[in-house]
Every structure is written in C-alpha cells, then in structure tokens.
C-alpha cells in the first residue's frame, strides 16, 4: 500500500485509538495520544515517499493524492507543530472531562490538514477541507462557552467559504471536464475573463476566509480564544495556514501567470488593512487570549500581503513568516494556556507578576514575543525585513507604511502581553502559583530554541521554502544561510548582527554582574520608591486597566466602527428578506405549480439570450 494512504490511515487509527483509549481510562488514552505525537511525525519524516502519487476513481471522478514541494513545506509546519501541541495537551487537559472527544477531533483535524496538503484534485481537497473544518468546529465549541455566538459564527463563515469553493469546483469541472488541480491551472489561461474571475475569486474567498482576512475575519477572535489553548496553537499556527497555502497557489499559479496582477494587489491591500486594524484591536484587549487571537489575524495579514504582491522576495517573505508565525504563535498560545491553567485566568487586569513563579513560561513567551515583534537577532526579523524590502523594491510605498504602522503598533500589544501576565506587582493571590508541568513547558522551549536559531541561520527554513517555490513557478530562488539580500543588492549579514549583539551583551553582562549582583538581595515589588507612601502587601499598585488609554483617545475616531455591526445589520436584512420570501413560498402546491410554469415560460421566451439557441 502507498505510504500516503498509510499515513492517512495511521492518523485516523490514532484518532480512534485515543478516543476509545480515553473511554476506557485516562492513562490508556494518554498513551495512545503520546504514541500518536511521536509516531505520526516519525513516519512522515522517515517513511513517506514524497515522489509517490496514488490515484483512484470514485463514481467516475478521478482522485489523486501526492505531495509536491509546496505542500511539503506546509506539511512541515503541521508535522512539527501538531505533535508538540499534542504533547502539550497531555499536560493541559490532564484534569478535563471528555478528553476522548478532544483528542479525536484534534487528530482528525491533523488528518484533514495532511490530506489537504497532499490532494492533487478538487474532490479530495474539498473532502479533507470539510474534515478539517468540522473537527475544528467541534473543538471551538468544546468548552461550551459562547456557543451561540462564536460557534455559530465559525460555522456560518466556514460554510460560506465551503460553498464558495464548491461553486468554484463545479464551474471548473464544467469548463475543463477534469477535477485535477493541474488541469485547472493549465487551462486557466484559456478561460473567458468572466470564468477566470469567478473561479479565482470564489476559491480565493474560501481560502482567505480560513486565513481570517478582513472583512471575513469576524469568526476568528472568538474561535481562537474559545478553543482549548492546547488546540489554538495548532488552530492559529497550522490550520489558518491552509488558507495561505490555497491563496499561494491561486495567486501565483493563476493570477500571476494570467496577468491578473491587480487581483493579487487587492488581496495584498486587504492583508495590509487586516494587519493594521487587527493590531489596533489587539492593543485594547484585556484578555490575553483575545489579544493573541487578534494578533494572529494581524500576522496573517502580513503573510497574505506577501503572497498577494507576488514577487519572488515577497512570496518568500510570506512563506517564511507563515513558518515563523506557526512557531511563535504556537508558543504564545501555549504560554497563555499555561497561565490559564496555573493561575486560573488570562485576564491581564487580574493576573500579574508571574515571572518568578513561571520562569520557563516567561522565557519562552519572551523569545516568542521578540520574534513576533520582529526585533533582531531572532527569527521574526528576517521575515519582516524581507517583506519590507520586497514592498519597497516593488514601489508599494503606501503598503509599506501600513505594514510599518502595524508592526510598530504591535510593540504595544507585545509589551502588554508580557507585562500583563508576567511583570508588574506580585500579588498575594498568586503566591502559590507553580510552573506548568514539563509536558507543557518542553514544547514551548523547543519552539523558542527554533526561533533563536532562525535569527542567525534562517537558511534552515529557506531551504524548504526555495524548494516549495519551484512548484509555484519560481526556479533558482536565491538564498543564503545567513545573509539576506533584496532586489537592489542591499544585504544584511545576520551572523555579524548576532555576533555584534552577542559580544556587547556578554561584555556588559559581565560588567553589570561582576562584584555586584550577588551581593544584592531581592526585595518584593511592594518595596518601591513611592514618594514616602508605605505600600501594604494587599495594595495592588499595578497599572493594567486601560493600559493604552492615551492611544485609545488618539484612535477613537477610527475604532468607533466595527465590522461586526455591519454583519449584524446584514443578518437582520437577510431576516427581512426571508420574511418576504415566505410570502412567495406560501406552502400552497398550486402557487408552486404556477411558479414553475412562469419559469418555463420565461426560459422559452428568453432562451435565445440565455443559451444562445
């Protein structure tokens, strides 16, 4: 049997095994989950044959599975992040109920993603896409919080995306007579302009929805923050990347090669607007989970911008950011989950001063935040740099300014996340908080080590991206292990950067620590200079409510409007429309017969205009 089919079967088998294991007892289930986390990536890395294709025919439709290098790049994200998240989940879900369902849906969403990335035809793509959507839906409503609002929102928007995709697939089949992706890409140039736009935009809509591009992002903040954090790291890190995967091949294979660049540009603009507005929203969140959710939307905005611009460097930057985003947002959601579990809340106005209680979690979050903010010498900078340079080289100066605005404003929420949860005054309430279990901290630390290495040697990721881009039609993409170069030949040597920062850091670290730090003794955060006032242990002096009030005052005119409002109004409008429809569909058989006759008459009268004969 083919290794690809075996891979799918292994994942499905482990899903069932963890489900039934958990229904026997917890230990058995956990062993199954652990085995899944180890064996699935092991199989993928050692046994899967990436040159293999499997095809079979179901009811006249030919289906084909097989990796290409572009899919392999995204599979790499899935296969590294999901096992770590599974191991993390073993710690995170230790005391929860219905863990069987959780792991079942978790593994099935991995199956969905794996399947999407190896689908070579639209039918299997659609089937796996639906598997992924449904299993993630089960996880969104898993905690039973806000099901009416977030659950239904997620479902409705996912269904919209699926319908759009389905319509596109039907139209494509009608025009090409084949379900293969490659047949579509090859035939695209010969389509009429209308069909080009219709299929392209419908597909783009379906994919953009999953990657939470404005204005179809509204499902994301609620869904990301309501899901158990063990899954959110995959949800935001890997699952949303499926949208990016799709956008990549739509924008490059279709629009770039059919000279419809402006469609990509529109997508890039949407990405930039998404980045800015989502960043502004993230800044004013008080819940760390919501903050991270909005931040995910913003980061996906950068990725979409990179993909949408469609030059070699920008796509390279977009794909690199996609990999990096999986790593750092994975860490951050895991850290938020660890805090939620250990301290009982992720409300940044309540939780403070956990740094000395949860040092490992803090360290991992710090590294991830530095990477997110794009500050050298960590990996995030590389992606930011390439994105800016590609936009500047391309002359998209307004978009550069927007991305800059968004990433400068991102410092605000980056700091707020770290300050809100880990810094500030240490309160007696959180005195007994302990560090999370090694099952939770080790995945975070592994990912942060990855982020540190990519700061000096991004080449380890570039290699796979360059391979993947050959499938998008970019051959011989230039990359070096640790030197970044833009189209004008300006470069950054990352090893020099790391070396310079490292040397200065160590020199002054010795200077500051030498003969001094050991002799100082720790005093609590209540023992501070306070103009003579004595602070009692129970006084909470942390400044965390309305942290960015002045900024809010500046942005007030912009933030007054929320896109959700328009959707709600739209919903009401639809309600009114269907109210009207009910008068047409009276439930009386005779009226229906009348409608059918009217319809046929119209067809007969206008048949020439409609069908052309």
């Amino acid at each position: 049997m083919s290794s690809l089919v075996i891979l799918i079967l292994i994942i499905a088998g482990f899903a069932l095994l963890s489900y039934f294991g958990h229904s026997i007892n917890k230990t058995a289930g956990n062993i199954a989950v652990f085995a899944a986390a180890v064996l699935i990536p092991l199989y993928w890395f050692t046994r899967v044959d990436f040159s293999e294709t499997v095809s079979f025919t179901i009811s006249g439709f030919q289906m084909e599975l097989g990796y290409n290098m572009y899919g392999k790049l995204f599979s790499l994200i899935v296969m590294i992040l999901s096992p770590l998240a599974l191991i993390y989940a073993l710690g995170y879900m230790k005391d929860s109920k219905r863990t069987g369902t959780f792991y079942f849906s978790f593994l099935f969403s991995i199956l969905g993603m794996t399947g999407i990335l190896m689908s070579r035809d639209f039918i299997s793509l659609f089937i796996f896409w639906e598997i992924m959507t449904w299993s993630s839906y089960l996880l969104v409503i898993f905690l039973g919080k806000d099901v009416e609002k977030t659950g239904i929102r997620y479902m409705v928007f996912s269904a919209l995306g699926a319908y759009a995709m389905f319509m596109a697939i039907v139209i494509i089949h009608r025009n090409t007579g084949s379900m293969m992706l490659n047949d579509y890409f090859n035939a695209f140039g010969n389509f009429s302009t209308g069909t080009k736009f219709l299929t392209g935009i419908l597909l783009m809509f379906g994919f953009a929805l999953k990657s939470a591009v404005m204005p179809v992002h509204v499902w994301a903040p609620g869904a990301y923050s309501n899901t158990p954090m063990a899954y959110t790291s995959v949800f935001s890190g890997a699952l949303s990347k499926m949208g990016v995967y799709g956008l990549g091949f739509v924008v490059i294979n279709l629009f770039a090669h059919a000279n419809l660049h402006f469609a990509g540009t529109i997508l890039a603009w949407l990405g930039a607007v998404t980045a800015v507005l989502a960043t502004f929203s993230a800044i004013f969140q008080d819940d760390a989970k919501k903050l991270l959710a909005y931040s995910s939307i913003a980061q996906l905005g950068y990725i979409v911008t990179g993909i949408g611009i469609g030059t070699e460097l920008s796509i390279f930057a977009g794909l690199y950011l996609a990999v990096l985003h999986a790593a750092f947002k994975g860490v951050l959601f895991m850290a938020a989950g660890a805090v939620e579990r250990q301290a009982g809340s992720t409300d940044m106005t309540e939780v403070t001063g956990l740094i000395r209680k949860m040092p490992l979690t803090f360290f991992a979050s710090l590294v991830a935040i530095i990477a997110l903010a794009g500050v050298p010498p960590l990996g995030g900078f590389v992606g930011k740099w390439m994105l800016y340079e590609s936009l500047i080289n391309n002359g998209n100066f307004l978009m550069v300014i927007m991305i800059f605005l968004s990433s400068t404003a991102a410092f605000l929420y980056s700091y707020k996340f770290l300050f809100g949860l880990f810094l500030g005054q240490e309160e007696p309430e959180f005195e007994n908080v302990k560090e999370a279990s090694p099952l939770m901290t080790i995945p975070m630390l592994l990912l942060s080590v990855f982020l540190m290495i990519t700061g000096s040697f991004p080449g380890i990721v570039f290699k796979y991206i360059a391979e993947g881009m050959t499938d998008l039609g970019f051959h011989d993409v230039n990359w070096q292990m640790s030197v970044l170069t833009n189209a004008w030949g300006d470069s950054v040597n990352l090893q020099h950067v790391t070396l310079s920062i490292g040397v200065v850091f160590v020199v002054f670290l010795i200077f500051l620590t030498w003969k001094g730090y050991k002799k100082t003794y720790y005093v609590s955060t209540k023992d501070i200079s306070s103009s003579g006032e004595v602070i009692k242990p129970e006084d909470n002096m942390t400044y965390s409510t309305d942290f960015y009030k002045p900024f809010e005052r500046v942005l007030h005119p912009i933030l007054k409007r929320k896109i959700e409002k328009y959707y709600d109004e739209f919903g009401e409008g639809i309600g009114a429309l269907f109210d009207f429809m009910r008068r047409i569909y009276t439930g009386n058989g005779q009226t229906y017969a009348f409608y059918v006759i009217v319809f046929l008459v119209i067809l007969l009268v206008f048949s020439k205009n409609i069908f052309g004969y």
Binding site: A373, I392, F404, Y415, L512, G516, S529
Partner: protein
C-alpha cells in the same frame, strides 16, 4: 584594515568617541537650558562626574532578573547600532560593520533597547514605570510613522536601502539630501524631537508627574549604564541624520559641527516648551509631519 585586532580597536574607539561626544552634548544641553532660564548651570563636564559618581555607588536591592538585564538591553542596542552606522565617510577606524546592515535593519534594532528596558521597568512593579512605558510606546507609534515615511521616500527615490549607499549617492551628486529631497528632510526633522524625548515630548520621564518614570527604580551601576547608553544613542541618532540628510562627514570636526547644529534643534525647541499630553504628542506627529511624509513619498515616487 585587516586583522581582528584592528576591528576590535576600531569598535572600542568608536564607542569611546560616541560616549564622549554624547556626554559633552548632554552637558551643553544642561548649560544652555540653564542660561535660557537665567541660571548659571552645571559645568559642561558635569555628566562625566555623574556617571563616575554613580559607578562608585553600590546597589543593594534588586527586583529580579529582568530588572538586572534592563540597562543591558539598552547599552547592547546603542553600541550595536553604532557598529552599523557609518560615522565617517571613509575612516580607517570607524568602518566597523557598516556594510552588514541596512536602514530597515537599523530601524528595527533601534527599538530593541527601549523594549528590553520597558520589560525591566515592568518587573520593578512601580506603577510610574508602567505608565511611563505605556506613554513611551504610544509616542513611539506616533513619531515612527513620519520618520519611516521620510526614510522610505529616500529609499524609493535613490533605489537603495543601505546607509552607505545613500552616502555614496550624496557624494557622487555633490549635494545633500536635505536639498535634493527637502520634503523627506522636513518630515524627518519634525519627527526628530520625539526620538530625543526632550520637551515638549518628555512624557516618558516626566519628572514632575511620574518621578522619572521607567528609570525610577534604578540606581548606581544600572543608572550609570543607562546614562552611558543614552549618550551613545544620542550620538547614533544624530550621526544617522547627518549621514542621511547632510552628506555625512569626512572628518571628526565636520561631524561634530554638523551633529551639534542638528542637536541644537530639539534642545532649543525643548527649552522653551511645556509638556504635551500623550495623545497630543501623537496627534502632533500624525498632523504636519505625516503630511510632509506623504508629500515626500509622492515626490519620490513620481
């Protein structure tokens, strides 16, 4: 120019130069402001004395590791940034790592220090520190936008993103960019006081409101490191402006004259200004500076 020894010596000399110049500038600033306010003022070398005095002080308490590291982020950032900025157009000693980084990189490494410092200030638990950080970051979003617009305008106009590339273009054309791209220069100049955080933009430290804000829990070695870093960073910023808009400098005297002239602008403006509120500061930066930034971009692109 070969040999690691030369490189290290060059780096040390550059740092020492930046430190000395920055310290004297700060001394001049105190003197000038004192004279404007009809005081005698401290001697010009007062800041050296302050740093030495602080170095001799012992620190006996700490609030944890992030606080300990806070001055370290700052000084790492200022010295590393210095290494990537061309001090002289073609000096023997001051080349350092000029060719290893470009402007975008510089923009990003320049926020490394303030963010690390903010984390350290956060760990002290002092509410004034947190308020200061919140204000500082907000202000940063304000002034970065026109400043970035000015820089992007230069990049697009001259098709290079490296500082050395822009310097070369200026010496080839024989003109300064403040004349060849005046709009970008105006935008950058209007954003500059925010970068220096002198009045009216001294909302982070705000002595009378926040008890000097983020630095309020630091003393001794820590404070002296911060002062050192601050003076180096002032030199870095001034040199960057001179490199970008005033054609760089071919010797140290030219550099000192140009940077000092530039430095007087935020100082003198600050000497006669009261303090903005945070939102007023941001609104200021998103007003005329933004307008000139847009104008510069349009001028550069068409």
């Amino acid at each position: 120019m070969e040999g690691i020894g030369y490189k290290i010596l060059g780096a040390l000399l550059t740092t020492l130069l930046a430190f000395t110049v920055g310290m004297f500038y700060a001394g001049f600033r105190r003197k000038i402001i004192a004279r404007i306010q009809n005081r005698v003022g401290p001697p010009v070398y007062q800041n050296f004395l302050d740093v030495l005095k602080l170095l001799s002080k012992k620190t006996s308490v700490n609030h944890g590791i992030m606080q300990h590291l806070a001055p370290l982020w700052l000084i790492t950032m200022s010295v590393s940034t210095l290494m990537f900025i061309p001090v002289l157009k073609d000096g023997l000693f001051f080349t350092n790592l000029n060719f290893s980084g470009d402007l975008i990189f510089l923009l990003y490494i320049m926020v490394f220090g303030p963010l690390g410092m903010a984390l350290g200030a956060g760990q002290t638990g002092n509410p004034n520190s947190a308020i200061g950080v919140s204000r500082g970051l907000t202000q940063m979003v304000g002034f970065e936008i026109p400043w970035i617009m000015a820089i992007v305008a230069l990049m697009i106009q001259y098709k290079t993103t490296s500082v050395t590339g822009l310097l070369d273009i200026q010496s080839q054309n024989g003109t300064w960019m403040m004349f060849s791209s005046p709009l970008a220069f105006i935008a950058a100049l209007l954003a500059m006081p925010g970068m220096f955080r002198y009045a009216p933009f001294d909302i982070v430290g705000a002595p009378a409101e926040l008890a000097s804000g983020p630095i309020s829990e630091f003393g001794g070695k820590y404070l002296s490191t911060m002062m050192t870093s601050g003076s180096i960073f002032a030199f870095v910023k001034l040199t960057l402006y001179v490199d970008l808009f005033m054609g760089g400098a071919s010797n140290l005297i030219e550099l000192v004259i140009k940077t000092f002239a530039l430095y007087m602008y935020p100082v003198l403006w600050g000497a006669v200004s009261p303090r903005f509120r945070t939102e007023q500061a941001v609104r200021y930066f998103w007003g005329w500076p933004l307008f000139f930034g847009f104008a510069a971009l349009i001028y550069a692109a068409f």
